[in-house]
């Protein structure tokens, strides 16, 4: 039974990962879209794309954005991690969950929020103009894009650096204190150097995420004529009038060619990370480092970041959703309205989108957790070379941005005729989402499984329980809270997802995120703001429940 179960897991994962990827590779070597009867094997698509100056400049911009946001996010994230984990920063308990909030916000919503808050005619821009006579910033620029991308990715570096700092033996810092070092010197010479592997790891991660950015450059870069690789890919769709699938395949592969080595490098880094760690005995209670006079300036830094990264765009979105129009010389009190929310009713596709989003998050999220649990159990305590194969398989989708996975699954459903009818159902979105979040979901599951001590399972086996009984009577009941937590996290991730659904968007497969992307092209700001508020409120509610249940967000 175990053998069948495990083979099933490996084959299924291989199928959902290699199937779409294989199709992209195949398509890239054709002269036209694969369904065209005149499609022939050809290198033409590569020649066209690699010679295109638009591709070159998109490539350059992607590189700049990735690099710039890493330079901003990593130092800031590491500093916040040190302040929250190791010092006596005031309001720590309250601030900590907020630091992770940007992870659960859809970038396209954030980007839209920045536009209406600090764009050329944004609420805060006009306010600044009335005070200063001019707007001291330019949102639609490479710098604007880099700064916002950097600030919104601070949580990713915070996450890894803080978890490394938590496992650091406090006595190494106490030794520095006794020797006479103040908190900043301790951070710079002891704590942060000791968690260098995690800092490097998060740098590689953020650099990688830079190439996968889609919502931010689409909204913030486009008006300034800035294209990155993903938005270049998105624009290709309409470039030639006919579906230029072969060109899209080449662009998609060029992104994967950049991201895959980064994912691989991260994996190597993770393996050698143990070398540095000074792991404390039992996580014993320790006295946080006193910041002294820096206490309040330090809180100021955290609050300022929160204000710019979370509050500014969210206030923008919320305000925009309740004003009928906005521009210079308009008095806020005179234009307040709830019409945008009422207007949603006149668009059946938007209503379907809202329902679909919640269905996909709630039911789809649960099914995905079930799927991840099956894969996780199959690999659990399995000593075989197949486990490392499975590890590599799971790693692959991390190199695939949602936009590309969605595109690939669109092709899969077009290519394999027997499953074609599923394309217009939520199943197509569900499977694409499940693949995009495969690595994340499995990490959640295996983190739970790691906590199950092997003796608890061995005890059941010796007493006479077969493998299936052990899973059902011991393993799964023991990780049930982990499974519920994973479900809530997947729920949020699926609700905020936007890029994966872009290419799969059609009647029956509307979701809020991809509707916002498509509405952005039409400039329907009223509807976008209403949809954004609904999405943020849904995610906020689940986040609230998760926090009340004590779910760890830093998985």
């Amino acid at each position: 039974m175990n053998r069948t179960f495990r083979s099933f897991a490996v084959v299924t994962v291989a199928l959902v990962v290699f199937g779409p990827l294989g199709l992209i590779i195949y398509q890239s070597f054709l002269s036209e879209a694969f369904f065209s009867p005149t499609a022939r094997p050809s290198l033409g698509a590569y020649q066209y794309v690699l010679a295109d100056s638009g591709f070159h400049s998109a490539f350059g911009t992607s590189l700049l954005v990735s690099f710039g946001m890493t330079v901003i996010a990593v130092p800031l994230g590491s500093l916040l991690a040190f302040l929250l984990v190791r010092t006596d920063l005031p309001w720590k308990k309250f601030l900590e969950p907020w630091l992770l909030v940007p992870i659960f916000l859809s970038p396209v919503v954030l980007a839209f929020g920045y536009v209406v808050a600090v764009g050329p005619v944004g609420f805060f821009s006009l306010w600044a103009k009335s005070l200063l006579g001019t707007i001291p910033w330019r949102l639609y620029s490479l710098y604007g894009l880099i700064v916002i991308a950097g600030l919104t990715h601070v949580p990713h570096s915070f996450l890894y650096v803080s978890s490394a700092l938590r496992s650091l033996d406090p006595s190494v810092e106490e030794a520095a204190r006794v020797a006479g070092a103040g908190p900043w010197r301790i951070a710079a010479t002891v704590s942060l150097p000791l968690v260098l592997p995690s800092i490097l790891f998060s740098s590689a991660l953020i650099f990688l995420l830079g190439f996968e950015l889609f919502g931010l450059p689409l909204v913030l870069g486009d008006p300034a004529g800035l294209l990155v690789l993903t938005t270049y890919l998105y624009k290709l769709t309409n470039l030639l009038g006919v579906p230029s699938y072969h060109l899209m395949a080449v662009v998609a592969l060029s992104i994967v060619a950049l991201t895959f080595p980064l994912v691989y490098a991260q994996r190597r880094m993770l393996r050698t990370a143990g070398r540095f760690a000074v792991i404390g005995g039992k996580g014993q209670a320790f006295r946080p480092l006193p910041l002294g006079a820096f206490r309040w300036p330090a809180v100021g830094i955290v609050l300022l970041w929160l204000l710019v990264t979370v509050l500014l765009p969210l206030i923008g979105v919320a305000l925009r959703s309740v004003v009928s129009q906005w521009g210079e010389g308009i008095n806020l009190a005179e234009v307040l309205t709830l019409d945008h929310f009422r207007e949603l009713q006149n668009h059946p596709n938007l209503i379907r989108g809202i329902i679909n989003t919640l269905l996909l998050g709630g039911i789809g999220g649960a099914l995905s957790v079930g799927f991840y649990a099956i894969i996780g159990l199959a690999a659990h305590r399995w000593q075989s070379r197949w486990v490392s194969f499975l590890d590599y398989l799971v790693m692959l989708p991390r190199a695939l941005p949602g936009l590309i996975v969605g595109l690939a699954f669109l092709w899969v459903f077009l290519f394999f005729k027997p499953i074609a009818p599923l394309r217009t159902t939520l199943f197509s979105l569900w499977i694409a989402y499940t693949v995009v979040w495969l690595a994340y979901g499995l990490r959640l599951i295996s983190a739970s499984l790691l906590q199950v001590k092997p003796e608890l399972e061995e005890a059941a086996r010796v007493i006479g329980a077969g493998q299936g009984k052990v899973y059902g009577d011991v393993t799964l009941p023991l990780i049930r809270f982990g499974l519920i937590g994973s479900w809530l996290l997947m729920f949020m991730m699926f609700v905020r997802e936007y890029s994966t659904g872009v290419y799969l968007l059609g009647p029956g497969t509307e979701v809020i995120g991809s509707l916002i992307v498509s509405l952005w092209g039409t400039g329907a700001l009223d509807l976008i703001s209403a949809l954004s508020v609904i999405e943020v409120v849904s995610v906020g509610l689940i986040l609230f429940i998760a926090l009340r249940l004590g779910v760890r967000l830093d998985a």
């Binding site: 001590k453 003796e455 608890l456 061995e458 005890a459 059941a460 086996r461 010796v462 007493i463 006479g464 329980a465 077969g466 009984k469 009577d473 011991v474 009941p477 023991l478």
Partner: protein, 351 residues
């Protein structure tokens, strides 16, 4: 017919040969202790019997039924061996009550509900746990958890009970009580038991027979008195008890006796290994076999008492003579000075 036969068990983990061909038998009702330092392979041996590890070579039979045979590739999975195992960490399932922990084995065997209640009730009562049936692991003390683990392992009457350092997580005081209680219980239910421990006192106290393991091999096998009193190898001699160990030159050999000499001293002892004259030998004598004597005599040395340490229930004296340094125990404090010390030749083993 023995309850358990293990033949030539070999096991390699990574590059280390953990078990290098261990064979033993366990007779019905017998308690056999697997004693050895950490890394001696005793836990691997126990886990091989339980079916949680697969040996590279050998054969295991439980009451005449072959459960593992490397030659034929036969391996009965752990859940079909019907054994009982008490884990070092107890491994009480935290999501089940004491009752449900103990009842699990019976439920798997499709025992009728009424009988489950009766059997679990009996065993809990026997172990003094009947008032804790509805509790969960985190509501129990270490000693109680240990008894739940035991109850869970014996409730379905396994042919062999396996115990992996069952007392090592108890504090020292509790451990001494549990030792006597555990032996009594195993004898009462009449099970044969394989008992893994690194604690020699525990092994000597609890077992009918001790298997002394080192580096994956059996060093010595026999009843507790023999293991302690008649070591056959230097490892057995050194591993057990508290010892004085010193080097000297073999000055004279006479049958099984030899005279060991050093700087200003000479002592007769019992040869435990083949040794010839004028080679270097190692003398080994248990601390309690060295005694202060009231005057000169055979097998006595006049030594200088350097210090007396108070250990609570006794005193430890450190004595010196030339390059010979000995420890011994006594009941009273003694001032530094010269004392006669008796070292009987039958207690001084020469390797």
């Amino acid at each position: 017919m023995p309850d358990l036969i293990a033949k030539d068990i070999q096991k390699q983990l990574g590059t280390a040969q953990v078990l290098c061909g261990v064979s033993f038998e366990l007779q019905p009702g017998e308690v056999l202790a697997l004693l050895g330092p950490s890394g001696s392979g005793k836990t691997t041996l126990l886990r091989s019997v339980a079916g949680l590890e697969r040996p590279d070579n050998g054969k295991i039979e439980i009451r005449g039924r072959v459960v593992f045979d490397a030659a034929t590739g036969l391996e009965v999975p752990a859940e079909q061996r019907g054994l009982g195992l008490v884990f070092q960490s107890y491994a009480i399932w935290p999501h089940r009550s004491v009752f449900e922990n103990v009842a699990y084995g019976l439920r798997l065997r499709r025992v009728a509900n009424a009988e489950v209640h009766q059997k679990v009730g009996d065993v809990l009562k026997r172990l003094g746990l009947d008032h804790l049936a509805e509790r969960y692991a985190h509501q129990l003390s270490g000693g109680q958890q240990q008894r739940v683990a035991l109850a869970r392992a014996i409730v379905y009457n396994p042919p062999v009970l396996l115990l992996d350092e069952p007392l090592s997580n108890l504090d020292a005081k509790l451990r001494e009580d549990a030792r006597a209680w555990l032996r009594e219980l195993i004898k009462q239910i009449g099970n044969s038991a394989l008992y893994v421990t690194h604690d020699q006192t525990e092994a000597l106290a609890i077992a009918d027979r001790v298997l002394l393991l080192d580096k994956g091999q059996i060093q010595q096998e026999g009843p507790p008195e023999q293991i302690y009193g008649e070591p056959t190898s230097r490892f057995s001699a050194e591993f057990m008890g508290s010892n004085n160990c010193f080097e000297g030159k073999i000055a004279e050999v006479s049958g099984r006796r030899a005279r060991l000499a050093g700087d200003g001293w000479t002592l007769w002892g019992t040869l435990k290994a083949e040794k010839s004259r004028d080679t270097i030998g190692t003398g080994l004598v248990r601390v309690e076999s060295v005694r202060l004597a009231d005057g000169a005599g055979d097998h006595r040395l006049k030594m200088l008492l350097k210090s007396a340490l108070y250990l609570g229930e006794r005193w430890e004296y450190v004595l010196e003579l030339g390059d010979l340094r000995l420890r011994t125990w006594g009941e009273t404090s003694r001032p530094a000075g010269e004392y006669w010390v008796s070292i009987p030749p039958e207690a001084l083993w020469i390797f």
